[in-house]
């Protein structure tokens, strides 16, 4: 019930977003939705089937290129296709590409699988610049969305609603997939591939299909990006794109159905907001990921579920502890960010070094609207003390927790390689 209410609320907010957001924020939200669908598609393979792919950008980009070629064909009148259905072609291309690549990659499991996917994507990435005809060379390919019925597809909102509809549709299909018999079998693959084949299933074929379906939805996501930006570029094939979907998925949590989408939304918005504030945003994103991997391995969605469960079972102790932990958490965060920002501003060779040379002094730098004098010990001590005090607090709080319980297993150990 609570879940339905939450979903309805999120849905309502997403539908009403254009009423209270400016057009460019809608653009940000559009890319966030695309990232969410991509992460959900990725998680079908990595989270549910247990096959961690490090080259999923390939299928995302293949979908994107298929769509941009389709859009060009529609634009030139060579084929007829209603504009909102164009992203479908991304799914078709992703499926074909995924079945092909999947045939090779799924012959191996575990770490080997990860490496093959990485190598396949790297090869495509290295080849793409040479295949200008399909990938459009450095400047990429562009097209224009054609009007359809009463829609001209020129405004942010029309694009947003099309993307929203496809994302919701895609996620709903993925949900339905999980409810099918084959969807249940998919999870068995993650748990024990050997058992699957001794139960009479062809594990290789099953894995190819899962790979194909995951690539198909990734292709739709890539197609949506091509649809929204009206362009495509081979840089989409790069390692960065493959890395970000991994980050999104596991920050959100691969064990909860909507976890990856949550992670993608959070990181896409984080990237868009924080990149305007500091050039170190990638560093913060990385640190956040490492911390989550270390301290809550099953992601933010699972954290949310735990909090909800604690509220339900009126487990006030646990909740109080979480709130208590917020205070040292904030202290550590502020301290660490201050040190990092001051350091990075001083080490910024283009800007700061030149002014040092010019003024022959170390001028203060501004972080959090406060100016920090790099030559003063206080600048470094204050945040350091904040961090140490924070860590001390965490230990105090957790020491009490350790006494209370002897530790529970959060996630059962994976079966051996």
């Amino acid at each position: 019930m609570l879940r339905l209410i939450t979903l309805a609320l999120v849905g309502a907010v997403l539908i009403a977003a254009p009423l209270f957001l400016e057009p460019h924020s809608i653009g940000v939200l559009t890319t966030a939705l695309i990232a969410a669908l991509f992460a959900m598609a990725f998680n079908l393979l990595s989270g549910r089937a247990g096959m961690l792919s490090f080259g999923h950008a390939a299928y995302f980009a293949i979908g994107g290129f298929a769509v941009i070629h389709t859009m060009q064909a529609v634009e030139s009148g060579a084929i007829w296709l209603p504009t909102p259905l164009v992203p479908l072609m991304g799914g078709v291309a992703g499926l074909i590409g995924g079945l092909g690549a999947g045939f090779f990659a799924t012959r191996r499991s575990g770490v080997y699988f990860s490496m093959v996917t990485l190598a396949l994507a790297e090869m495509l990435h290295a080849l793409a610049p040479n295949l200008g005809g399909f990938f459009g060379g450095e400047v990429g390919l562009t097209s224009m969305r054609m009007p359809w019925l009463a829609f001209d597809y020129g405004s942010e909102n029309q694009v947003y609603f099309t993307v929203l509809a496809w994302t919701v549709f895609g996620i709903a299909l993925l949900y339905a997939y999980n409810q099918t018999l084959f969807g249940r079998l998919t999870v068995g693959l993650r748990e024990s591939e050997r058992r699957i084949s001794f139960l009479g299933y062809n594990a290789h074929h099953t894995k190819i299909i899962v790979f194909g379906v995951s690539a198909m939805f990734s292709g739709i996501a890539g197609g949506l990006l091509a649809f929204a930006t009206e362009s495509m570029n081979y840089s989409m094939l790069g390692m960065g794109m493959s890395a970000s979907v991994v980050l999104h998925t596991f920050v959100g949590g691969s064990t909860v159905f909507l976890g990856p989408a949550l992670g993608a939304l959070i990181f896409a918005l984080f990237g868009s907001l924080v990149s305007d504030l500091t050039k170190n945003w990638l560093l913060y994103q990385g640190i956040l990921f490492v911390l989550i991997m270390m301290f809550m391995g099953d992601g933010l969605a699972m954290l949310w579920i735990r909090i909800v469960n604690e509220c339900r079972s009126r487990n006030w102790d646990a909740l109080r502890q979480r709130v208590l932990l917020l205070i040292p958490g904030l202290l550590i965060t502020v301290g660490a960010i201050t040190i990092l920002e001051v350091t990075s501003k001083i080490l910024d060779q283009q800007q700061y070094a030149t002014s040092v040379a010019r003024m022959n002094a170390w001028p203060p730098v501004s972080v959090f609207g406060v100016s920090w004098d790099p030559t003063s010990a206080l600048t470094w001590l204050l945040p350091l003390v904040a961090i140490l005090v924070g860590i001390g607090f965490v230990y105090l709080i957790l020491a009490r927790k350790m006494q209370q319980r002897t530790g529970t297993i959060i996630m059962s150990r994976e079966p051996a390689r």
Binding site: Q179, R190, E191, R194, R195, F198, L199, G200, S412
Partner: protein
Amino acid sequence: MTQAAIELAGLKKRFGDNEIIRGVDLAVREHERHALIGPNGAGKSTLFHLISGLYTPSAGDILLNGRSIGGLPPHLITRRGLSRSFQITTIFPRLSVQENLRIAAMSKHGRRYALFSLARNAKEVNRDTDQLMELVRLSHVRDKFAGDLTYSEQRALEIGMAMGPGADVILLDEPMAGMSREETHYMIDLIRNVTVGKTLLVVEHDMEVVFSLCDRISVLVYGELIATGRPDDIRSNARVQEAYLGEVVA
């Protein structure tokens, strides 16, 4: 004489220069409960892996109900009607008992690529799942994660999953390993129940289990069968005595 369910003919398996199975001939009759015993390192597990398709034979053949299955991959052997359990529990730990058994039962109905049918609407599959659950007496933990079950419950689930594909020939690899006396009695009873009307080939160390459960026994020593026969004959067989010198003979 009834037809042999499993027939091994001159079966050999080499790993490099090391011959583990050195020409085994064996016929397991239809509907019998047949035990495979032997000292450690005799090649019992290797023989199981050969029959179930994990390894391919170096020489010789394996017949299932008169048809050759030597060298077939495991999933095809299962589809031909032979299914097995593992010595090391191989269940789906992060899935519920019901999901575990449902995946096993789906196979019986050939729902291997059922991309478009919802699990909860698959009536036959769900009916079979429930039956399996009853059979291995796990209905009371149907929604528990398999990984959270007690050890003996996990072993019961292991057997339940081997029964899932509906095969007529069942291979059980040390079903009693690591169990207490009490649990062993419970498990003997359970195995007897679930294998009614099926052919059973079981590897087991516990002689009490072997003698109380099985109709016939084969003894494997250093990759060769030294005896096959009814429990009483085996008990009194000189070569078996010799092979087991220093080991437990009940």
